[in-house]
Every structure is written in structure tokens, then in C-alpha cells.
């Protein structure tokens, strides 16, 4: 089974190559077949390998397959090696499985787009890069995948390139993530000079030997890697690109900006967990960033009217939960939440895409409404997704994963009541905005006519994802409630077990609090948006509320802040210096030269007698010098 490993990334890549080179000449059916088929094949191979991996665990705990040596310079010899262990298995599974579903969905969703083959080419390239990212054996290969997904994200956000706004959103996404990537690259340099290698297994074995607990070098390294993760995962302070990234087609938002790429930061941190463990400060910072992000993004989500932006902010917020979990040392919980989140967020985006398409590309949730009966499949799947997002107790998968994180945020070693409280508040807000969105979109009266109903290609993936959003949570149940630990047992091979603080055996209280906050949130939204919408109008009267609303709506003013502090000065500087101030120096030299020769050419009067006079004067001067000296 080991030998098939290379097929997983190569299949989508082959799909990309075929579509990129010959996409023009292929019919739409073939394009869809190649595009979706290649990813689906990968998705089929993954369980085959996965079953082999689980049933006969290799002695080393991982499969690894070296394809070729990328380069060898002195001691620096990164190889193109694929590496599969429990952690990457989870990621590969999620990527290929959800990727395949989204590809199938896209075959229907994009059916009327003129750039059909370009879309699938980019999507395939994305799946390839993402797989490379999670299968990479060394950090350099990981970096290749890391930048590759950034490129694909760029290409797909700007997919409808005729509108310059999309192009700028794409550029913003790429550049902001690039800032993080740059920090990460510096992190790679530090790691290389510390360990003499970039191979992840070697680093992880050498790190505890060479560094002592709490070493400042460990903190620096961890923070640099974290910066990369923060950029890619749209966490504070580099979160501003993700809402704008919604300019891309909905399947793109589902696959890249919800399910997979944005969780690359989570993958990176859990992959390099040993370095983070060596630095409690860095880990603390991870948790704080996560908590702050989930808090800020939650409030922003509350105010958005574009359905995709609501979901985008909710994505930022949910990834904040994952960071929070990573930060407090609940490694498995973070990955678990990643998986569940991938299911329900992909589902939500796909369903939102279907709604948007049905309503003639209407994004504004205030112009939707009453879709409950008109689009039943969409309604039910969206409902399931929302339930999972809001962590509706017991029946939704999201509950199990989020509850675990909340519990660890208090109880795990790195946990602390404040983090827990913010998490709880976040859960409450999540419930509020999710319910708000549900009510505005599906209840009430219809404000826009339905044009186009989704076909089978689109509904089937929705149903499959809805199934997983409901039931995937049962593979990992809380201690006091079944205590079923399939998922964390699997990850135990790679990630350390979460250590609880002493004397924590009251998980039930926390579960009840979480439950209450969710239900409270749902009730609040129900009251404000369904029962008594006039209350909102009343609130809008208040200036303070309106200002707060605008502040949250703009994403806490981060865009404006960056614009005035960083973007504008640089652009101003660049434009002022457009003609290159250094060149002025040389122009000055030429100017002086020209002036000099102009004044000297005045002596060139054409009068022979003047010239002879000059000769005489010259002779006099030379002779006087002779006399003087």
C-alpha cells in the first residue's frame, strides 16, 4: 500500500496538467470528468492506504516514500519525500474526500461558466498543493505546498477576473499570507542552522535534545512558524484577507477558504508541536491569538449582510477555536475540530452557493427569505450545517468538537478561565449569528424570485456532507458521556496526549454552560430576528449601537488601520519616487556637464585672433610657472 502514496498527489496534478495544456480542446463533460475524477480517484486511494495503515501499523509509525532528492548542496539536502502518519492521514482524508465532493458539486455549479476547464485546472492544482503540504516530509517541501495553495487561492479568488475588485481581493489574500510565509521562511533558516536539516522527523527528534524547555530560541522559532500559520489561517493580526477572499466562486470558498487551506496553520503547528511544547510562551501566544480571533471574528460575523462574508468570519472564528485548542495543548481536539469544521463549513458554503445561484447571484441575506419550502434539500442541509456550526448539543458533530475545546480551554495544562470564558462567549455569538442567518435566509417572506434550482450533481455532495456533519462527531465522545476516543487514539501516535490540570473532574458543569450559551444564543437571535424584529429597529436608533455596528461590520477597523499605517505610506513613497531619486544624482552630473560645455563653447568664438591670444596667454602662464618654480 505504501507504494501507492505518490499517486495521491500525482493524480490531481495529472488532472491539472491535462486541463491546463489541453483544456481548450476538451468538451465540458471530459473536463468535469478529468477534474473531478482525478480527485475522486485520490479520494478512493486514501481509504485504501488508510485501512492498510490502521490495520497493519508500520513499525516506524509512518509511511514514507522518497521520490527523488530535490537538491543537494553541502549538508542541505531536502528530498521530495512523502510522509504519511496519523496526523497527515486525517488531513489527506479530509482534503481528498471533501475535495472530491466539492469537485463533483462544482461540475454542476460552474456548468454555465465560460472558463470551465481553467476552474478545474486550478482546483486540481490546489488539491495537489494541499496534499503536498500535508504529505511533505521536510519543511521545504511543505513550503512548496504552502505557497502552492497560496497561488491557487490567488488564482481562484480572482477567478472572475473581469471585475477588478476580485483581482484586488486575490492580491490582498496573496500578499497578506505572503507576509506570514516570509516569517515562516525565516523560521526555516533558524531551524536549519539549529538542526542542520529541514526534515520534520529529524527536527522533532533533535529539538528536545538540543533545546531545553523554555529556551528563547525555541520561542523565536515557534513564533516565526506561528506567523506563517497566522497568515495562512487568517488569524489575528493577518485575518483581513479572508472576508475579501469570498470574491471567488462558492466551491472555492468551501474548499480553500473554509475546509482545507486556511487550516494549514493548524496543521503546521500540530506538525511542529514539539517546538511549541518547548516554548510555553509561544504556546500561550497561540492560545491568545486564537481566543482573540474567535472573539473579534464572531462579532464581525454578527453584522455582515453578505451571506458568504458571514460564513467567512465564522471560519476565522472557528479556526480561532482550533488555535485556542492548540495553544492550550489540546492537540487532538484541535485536529478533531478541524475535521468536523471542514465538513460543516464546506457544507454551509456549498449550500450558500446553491442559494446564491438560485437567487440570481444575490449575496445579501436581507434580500433573501422564505426559502424553507422552495429549496427543501438546501434548507435541510443548511440547517444541519448551521446546527453543527452553532454546536447544537448532542445531535450535531460540532457540539462534540467544540465542547471538547471549551473544556480543555479551562482544564488543560495551558488552559485558563479567561480563555475559556472567551471561548464560551464565542460559542454564544456563533449561535446568535448562525440563527440570524438561518432565519433571514429561510424564514420570513420571499424577497427574491428563485431562478435556478440545483441539480443532482450539487445536491448529492450536500447530502453526503450533511451526513458527516451530523454523525462524524460520534467518533470522539466526552469523558463523561460514552468516553469514546477513536479519533484521539489515532492521533496519539503523533501528537501528545492532552494533560489535564489536577483535580478536574467536573466536565459536566462546563458542558451544561456550553449548552446553555448555545441555546441562549439561538433564543436571542430567534427573539430579535423572528419574533420581534422591531427591536432591531429600536436598537438602530442608538448612535452608539450604530457606531459599534459599523465598527464590527468593518472587521474591527483592521483594514483601515493597515491601510493608513502600512499600505498608504508605502504606496505614497513608491509613487513619489517613481522617477528614481538616485537617477536625479546622475542627471545632476549631466546637467553640470552640459552647463560647463555650454559656457566653454562660448570661448569657441570662431575668431582666429582670439585663439592666438589664448595661445599666447597659455604660453605666458606656462613660462611664468617655469620661472616661479
Amino acid at each position: 500500500m505504501n507504494n501507492l502514496l505518490w499517486l495521491i498527489p500525482v493524480l490531481p496534478f495529472a488532472g491539472f496538467l491535462i486541463l491546463a495544456l489541453a483544456g481548450k480542446h476538451l468538451s465540458r463533460v471530459w473536463v468535469a470528468l478529468i477534474g473531478a475524477g482525478s480527485v475522486s480517484l485520490s479520494a478512493i486511494i486514501v481509504p485504501i492506504i488508510g485501512i492498510g495503515f490502521l490495520s497493519h501499523p508500520p513499525a516506524t509509525g509512518n509511511y514514507s516514500q522518497t521520490l527523488w532528492t530535490w537538491m543537494q548542496v553541502g549538508d542541505f539536502n531536502p528530498k521530495i519525500t512523502l510522509f504519511l502518519d496519523a496526523l497527515s492521514l486525517v488531513f489527506v482524508f479530509v482534503i481528498t474526500f471533501i475535495g472530491a465532493l466539492i469537485h463533483i458539486y462544482s461540475a454542476g455549479f460552474m456548468a454555465s461558466d465560460k472558463d470551465y476547464s481553467r476552474f478545474f485546472a486550478c482546483m486540481n492544482l490546489f488539491v495537489f498543493s494541499m496534499l503536498l503540504l500535508v504529505l511533505a516530509d521536510n519543511l521545504l517541501l511543505l513550503y512548496l505546498g504552502w505557497e502552492g495553495v497560496g497561488l491557487c487561492s490567488y488564482l481562484l479568488i480572482g477567478f472572475w477576473y473581469e471585475n477588478p475588485v476580485n483581482g484586488y481581493a486575490a492580491r490582498k489574500a496573496f500578499i497578506i499570507t505572503r507576509i506570514g510565509d516570509t516569517a515562516m521562511a525565516i523560521g526555516l533558516f533558524v531551524i536549519f542552522y539549529q538542526f542542520g536539516t529541514l526534515a520534520i522527523p529529524d527536527i522533532l527528534t533533535k529539538a528536545p535534545v538540543l533545546w531545553h524547555q523554555g529556551a528563547s530560541i525555541a520561542t523565536i522559532t515557534a513564533l516565526l512558524l506561528l506567523a506563517g500559520g497566522v497568515g495562512k489561517s487568517a488569524q489575528l493580526p493577518l485575518q483581513t484577507w479572508l472576508p475579501d477572499a469570498m470574491a471567488g466562486p462558492s466551491p472555492v470558498s468551501a474548499l480553500i477558504h473554509a475546509a482545507t487551506m486556511v487550516t494549514a496553520g493548524v496543521y503546521l503547528i500540530s506538525r511542529m508541536h514539539i517546538i511549541f511544547q518547548l516554548s510555553p510562551i509561544a504556546q500561550m501566544i497561540v492560545a491568545v491569538i486564537g481566543a482573540a480571533t474567535l472573539f473579534i471574528a464572531g462579532f464581525s460575523a454578527l453584522t455582515q449582510y453578505d451571506i458568504k462574508r458571514v460564513l467567512a468570519y465564522s471560519t476565522i472564528s472557528q479556526i480561532g477555536y482550533m488555535f485556542l485548542a492548540l495553544g492550550v495543548g489540546a492537540w487532538a481536539a484541535a485536529i478533531f475540530h478541524f475535521m468536523i469544521h471542514a465538513f460543516f463549513k464546506a457544507l454551509l458554503f456549498l449550500a450558500a452557493g446553491a442559494v446564491i445561484e438560485a437567487l440570481h447571484h444575490e449575496h445579501n441575506i436581507f434580500k433573501m427569505g422564505g426559502l424553507k419550502n422552495k429549496l427543501p434539500v438546501i434548507f435541510w442541509t443548511f440547517l444541519i450545517g448551521s446546527a453543527s456550526l452553532a454546536a447544537l448539543p448532542l445531535i450535531s458533530a460540532g457540539f462534540y468538537s467544540k465542547d471538547q475545546i471549551l473544556w480543555y480551554a479551562w482544564a488543560a495544562e495551558g488552559g485558563n478561565p479567561l480563555l475559556w470564558f472567551i471561548g464560551l462567549l464565542g460559542a454564544f455569538i456563533t449561535a446568535v449569528y448562525t440563527t440570524r442567518m438561518m432565519i433571514l435566509v429561510f424564514w420570513g417572506e420571499a424577497k427574491t424570485e428563485i431562478g435556478h434550482r440545483p441539480g443532482k450533481l450539487m445536491t448529492v455532495p450536500l447530502i453526503v456532507l450533511a451526513f458527516f456533519s451530523l454523525f462524524a462527531g460520534f467518533i470522539e465522545l466526552p469523558h463523561n458521556f460514552g468516553h469514546f476516543r477513536l479519533f484521539s487514539d489515532l492521533l496519539q501516535q503523533v501528537l501528545p496526549e492532552t494533560i489535564l490540570k489536577a483535580g478536574m473532574n467536573t466536565e459536566l458543569q462546563f458542558q451544561i454552560l456550553a449548552l446553555l450559551s448555545t441555546l441562549g444564543g439561538i433564543y436571542l437571535a430567534y427573539v430579535f430576528y423572528y419574533k420581534q424584529p422591531q427591536r432591531i429597529e429600536k436598537l438602530k436608533q442608538s448612535r452608539f449601537v450604530m457606531n459599534l455596528y459599523l465598527f464590527w461590520f468593518s472587521g474591527w477597523g483592521f483594514d483601515k488601520l493597515y491601510n493608513t499605517l502600512i499600505v498608504k505610506p508605502i504606496v505614497f513613497m513608491a509613487n513619489v519616487n517613481k522617477n528614481d531619486v538616485v537617477d536625479k544624482l546622475y542627471q545632476g552630473v549631466t546637467f553640470i556637464t552640459i552647463r560647463l560645455y555650454q559656457s566653454l563653447s562660448f570661448t569657441q568664438s570662431g575668431s582666429l585672433r582670439w585663439y592666438i591670444m589664448g595661445l599666447v596667454i597659455g604660453a605666458i602662464i606656462i613660462l611664468s610657472m617655469q620661472i616661479m618654480l
Binding site: T603, Q604, S605, G606, S607, L608, R609, I612, V616
Partner: protein
Amino acid sequence: MKSSIEIVMLLAGLLFVLGIAGVIIRKNIIFMLLSVEVMLNASGLAFVAAGSRWAQPDGQVMFIFILAMAAAEVSIGLALILQIYHQHKSLDIDKLKEMKG
């Protein structure tokens, strides 16, 4: 006969300076050419004097070369003067300022 070269050199220098003065003062090209002849002569004199000082023929050889040069120069110069006079109806050097930079 005892002799001193200084006085001859002084004479050559004086003639040379007079030639230069002629070239600068006069506006008529013919006079300028005449003054140039004076200058050439002065340098010839210096050569011959130097040759005689060391009792070597080289000074005279140089004088002969100067002579040849002067002959060529005069023939070309006079031909030019003829042309200039035909074209400009004047021999005023100041009217010929065409190479003004």
C-alpha cells in the same frame, strides 16, 4: 671667434614675439601670413644657433625642414587667401567667423 648663444636666442625670441604680435594685431590675412613667416624664421634662427653651438649639422637640417614646411604652408595659405578673397570680397579675418561654437 668666441661667441655667446644667449644673444642669438634673445634675438630669435624677440623676432618670434614680434611675429606673434603681428598675427594678433593685424586683421588682414596677408599680414597675418607674413607674421607667421616671421615666426617660422625666428624658430629657424633658434635651431641654427643651437646647431652652431654644438657644431653639429642637425640645426641646419631642422632649418631646412622648416623651410620646406614654410614653403608648403605658404603655397596652401596663399591659395586659400585667393579663394577667400573671391568668395567674400574681403580679407578681414573677423568676417570669417564661421566656426562659432
